[in-house]
Symmetry: C2
Subunit: 174 residues, 2 copies
């Protein structure tokens, strides 16, 4: 019996590797389809774009962070765009019942202020993945993309926002 | 025929939704297993921890960004820890042939400097997901977690680093 879940999943990895088919390196994948869409969404298991869009490999690059908020991802978007060289559009997708709608700034600040040596200045500098209004968070994040100076013009112009309903499974444009 | 891939995948979503089984809201999921591990890794399709660790729902929360670099994720880690209340360990996992090892700072800076009004100061402020040495990037990111003042002590103490080999499928501790 493994001591912790980490030990246990490392054991599972050994079993997985036995039947693993080696992935190709980039250098061996010339001519392979590259994604034209960048999807920014939440890490929530219920909000899985591969599932709800029936994505095929190479359709989209996907960044998943808390709430699917754009602010911490600007450098990521730029690096991906530069590396892939194939992106044309960005979709921002938030979802119903997101954890970010259940949190308050105060609760997270109180959480970090329990640690030794953390000041209120440290806490207020955090860019936290809050959402108070789901449609507004999508609009704000699309606006953040569209008004960026540093993201490539084509992506700014083709940024759009959506809300995914974890009950109905439907994605609708905001 | 859809005009763009975005239109096409929105059509696919309608088909998906027909057979979609509604997910439960947090308020309907009392007593459900909550993740004890936070996994930080790359968005690369070949580097899928659900797959290589045979994860079950509720085993782990997973943040996937370019290169699996920790620096842009500090606020995310704190929010998740506060929201979930169940985390005990953090695993940082980088992988062979990562896109972040194929990029240079200069290439990304040149990329953004093509946009109107972007200065070299704008470019150098970006925290880019580079990797020059895969073992070193893992060690650096684990160190960043362990020396954080603001992340909860238990998580700092239980932060560990790994390298995933996309050829063999094996994860080894760094």
């Amino acid at each position: 019996m493994a001591e912790s879940l980490v030990d246990e999943i490392l054991e599972r990895n050994k079993n997985f590797a036995v039947a693993h088919r080696p992935y190709r390196f980039f250098s061996e994948s010339q001519g392979q389809k590259r994604p034209s869409i960048l999807i920014i969404t939440c890490l929530d298991l219920r909000c899985n774009p591969e599932e709800f869009f029936s994505l095929l490999p190479g359709d989209a690059a996907i960044l998943r962070v808390g709430g699917g908020r754009v602010a911490p991802l600007i450098a990521q978007i730029i690096s991906l765009d530069c590396f892939l060289g194939s992106l044309k559009e960005i979709m921002v997708i938030h979802h119903t019942d997101c954890g970010a709608t259940h949190m308050t700034e105060k609760r997270i600040h109180d959480h970090v202020l329990k640690e030794d040596g953390v000041t209120i200045e440290d806490a207020t500098q955090l860019v936290l993945p809050f959402i108070t209004d789901l449609e507004q968070s999508v609009r704000d994040d699309v606006k953040l993309l569209k008004t960026s100076r540093i993201i490539r013009r084509e992506l700014r112009d083709h940024a759009s926002g959506y809300l995914y309903d974890v009950k109905s499974g439907l994605v609708r444009r905001v």
